[in-house]
């Protein structure tokens, strides 16, 4: 509830909120406006009277045509999608099973293993990229999508496991016991009773995993080298920047189109994100 007089509302709510929104969202506006601004308007120094930063009356699709016609951007989009989908599937499979085992089964070393997986969740990619690049080369996986499909689960699985553990813990034990009394084997109770109940949790794990692998950068930068193998972030940085020359129009168009898939994924599931964060923070 926002109470109080009008000036209080402005000072304590609308003004700070407005400033936050401008600060957080302006770069996206700048991305969009640059995408459709012709080069002639793009490169006017800011102190000229003709400099109009916020609008253009001559929108152009030239940068989009360049991006999709002259570069392999469409292939990068496909590569990124393929890698994100497959590594997400692998990670969900592993994470759901591991999360179930760690949260609902009692066995020797459960606590130790749970802690170990939590710790690997906190290992940043930048700690391991040099030795990992050597290993990828030794397995002759370099410059193939499989180098990323197999290495992305290292940061996706711990995350999925952690999230699923929290979710499985919230499913009442009685549900499983009923199925067991009715004669279901342990694995059947898991597969047919508990996992279906956990579908909302699996869905949010899926969105996070997809986004994390879509956004990953350093492994893709180090493991991939040929232009037609690259993912969007790496392709944009290596093919749209030539030495010191930045092709700002196509660059912003690429940034815009590379951001849209994750933005859409999230816009549908933002409430799940909030509950997911609450769940994982509490769990």
């Amino acid at each position: 509830m926002i109470e109080g007089s009008i000036w209080r509302r402005w000072v304590f709510f609308r003004l700070p909120m407005g400033i936050f929104l401008i600060f957080l969202l302006f770069p996206f506006y700048w991305m969009i406006i640059t995408t459709f601004r012709p080069d002639g308007e793009l490169y006017i120094p800011w102190y000229r009277a003709t400099y109009k930063p916020f609008w253009t009356w001559n929108p152009t699709t030239a940068h989009l045509k360049y991006l999709f016609g002259e570069t392999t951007f469409a292939i990068w989009m496909w590569n990124t999608t393929f890698i994100a989908v497959v590594s997400t599937a692998i990670s969900l499979f592993c994470g759901v099973l591991a999360g179930y085992a760690l949260s609902r089964l009692t066995f020797k070393g459960a606590a130790l293993l749970g802690t170990t997986i939590f710790v690997t969740y906190l290992v940043p990619q930048t700690l391991l990229f040099i030795p990992l690049s050597e290993i990828i080369r030794a397995y002759s996986l370099g410059d193939t999508p499989w180098s990323l499909i197999l290495s992305y689960p290292t940061f996706l699985i711990p995350f999925c496991t952690w999230l699923m553990m929290g979710y499985f813990k919230s499913v009442p034990k009685e549900l499983e016991e009923c199925a067991r009394i009715d004669g279901a084997a342990r694995w059947q109770a898991m597969l047919y009773i508990i996992i279906p109940v956990a579908v909302p949790g699996i869905l949010s794990a899926m969105i996070f995993a997809f986004t994390l692998s879509w956004n990953e950068f350093i492994y893709a930068l180090v493991f991939l080298s040929s232009p037609e193998q690259k993912t969007v972030p790496v392709g944009v940085i290596s093919e749209l920047v030539r030495g010191d020359v930045f092709f700002w129009g196509p660059l912003m168009a690429g940034a815009l189109f590379g951001s849209i898939p994750v933005a859409i994924a999230y816009s549908f599931f933002v409430e799940q994100y909030v509950s997911g964060v609450t769940g994982s923070v509490k769990g």
Binding site: F28, L128, T154
Partner: protein, 313 residues
């Protein structure tokens, strides 16, 4: 249970030996379920970690297996003035951005926790900086920081802070470049803090605040004595998580400055990349990466202990 008796519909009872069902044992089932995870994590985390240590104590270069040199790589780092700058930069970067992310994130969380029009809509938009690919968003910032053609200097010009043609050289000057990458990091991190802390705020019962208000507590007293202590567990997790991410950050610096000008903005990760991949000195790069490990390890231990303490309380 030696035998099982299965009643069938016509009333007779079939007595037989139990089937051999190894997966009924919790230990066996757990082992099977954990196998893929342990295999993947072992192959692509534990093994690279060991290889990283082995690399760091040799003098390997790309395509050339080196000899054992002991701690020579680390000793060289201790004398390397760029590495000194890297350590200073990384700590400064992590410390300053975390403080700002916490303050601004908490403020935004408190704003978002009220009821207002378009609340769900606003939340969805606010998350954008955190969820879009960092590299791509950094390009938008780099273009905004452009000293000749971009909007930030225009804004300062219109506000009368800079004169025509004498704009701020955002990424070209060492100190300004550091400030610029900090701004971008704060921009990316605030939504994460805000949404996580807001989720934490929602778990706090409003009755507590109302009870205190009836007892005459002022708004800031209610915040300081009720909301803040109850929010502490969430805050700790968010801060520690963010510190790990910021300390090992790579993307923002790589895109915005590449570590320059004159190595003024190098962090551990970008310097490791420059040595290991850029110059091909694998061992030295691996040593720089590993230099992050003690602090990260400390934070993780601290986090584990804190979570345990909160859980057993």
């Amino acid at each position: 249970m030696a035998t099982t008796a299965i009643p069938v519909p016509d009333g007779t009872i079939i007595v037989g030996k139990p089937k051999w069902r190894p997966l009924e044992s919790e230990g066996n089932l757990a082992m099977l379920l954990l196998l893929p995870t342990v295999a993947l994590l072992g192959m692509f985390i534990a093994y690279p970690f060991v290889r990283g240590i082995l690399l760091a104590v040799t003098n390997s270069k790309v395509g050339q297996i080196g000899d054992f040199v002991g701690f020579e790589n680390f000793a060289r780092l201790l004398k390397d003035p760029i590495f000194h700058a890297v350590v200073y930069n990384t700590f400064l970067y992590t410390f300053v951005t975390t403080i700002f992310k916490l303050i601004l994130g908490l403020w935004l969380a408190l704003l978002l926790n009220r009821d207002f029009k378009f609340k769900a809509f606003t939340r969805a938009f606010i998350l954008l900086p955190f969820i879009v690919p960092t590299v791509l968003a950094c390009f938008a910032w780099k273009w905004m920081f452009d000293p000749t053609f971009a909007v930030l200097n225009w804004m300062l010009f219109k506000l009368g802070i800079v004169a025509a043609g004498a704009g701020v050289n955002w990424l070209g000057d060492g100190d300004m470049a550091m400030l610029s990458i900090m701004i971008v990091n704060i921009w990316r991190g605030v939504p994460f803090f805000a949404i996580s802390l807001m989720a934490g705020l929602q778990t706090i019962s409003p009755d507590l605040g109302e009870a205190a208000a009836i007892d005459g507590a002022k708004p800031w007293q209610r915040f300081w004595y009720i909301t803040w202590p109850l929010l502490m567990p969430v805050t700790m997790v968010v801060v520690l998580f963010s510190v790990i991410q910021t300390f090992s950050d790579f993307q923002i610096v790589y895109v915005m400055t590449g570590g320059g000008p004159a190595n003024a903005t190098h962090l551990f990760a970008t310097y490791a990349y420059q040595l290991g991949v850029g110059t091909g000195l694998l061992s030295q790069g691996a040593a720089v990466s590993l230099a992050m490990f003690p602090l990260l390890f400390g934070i993780v231990i601290f986090q584990l202990m804190y979570i345990r303490r909160v859980e057993t309380r």
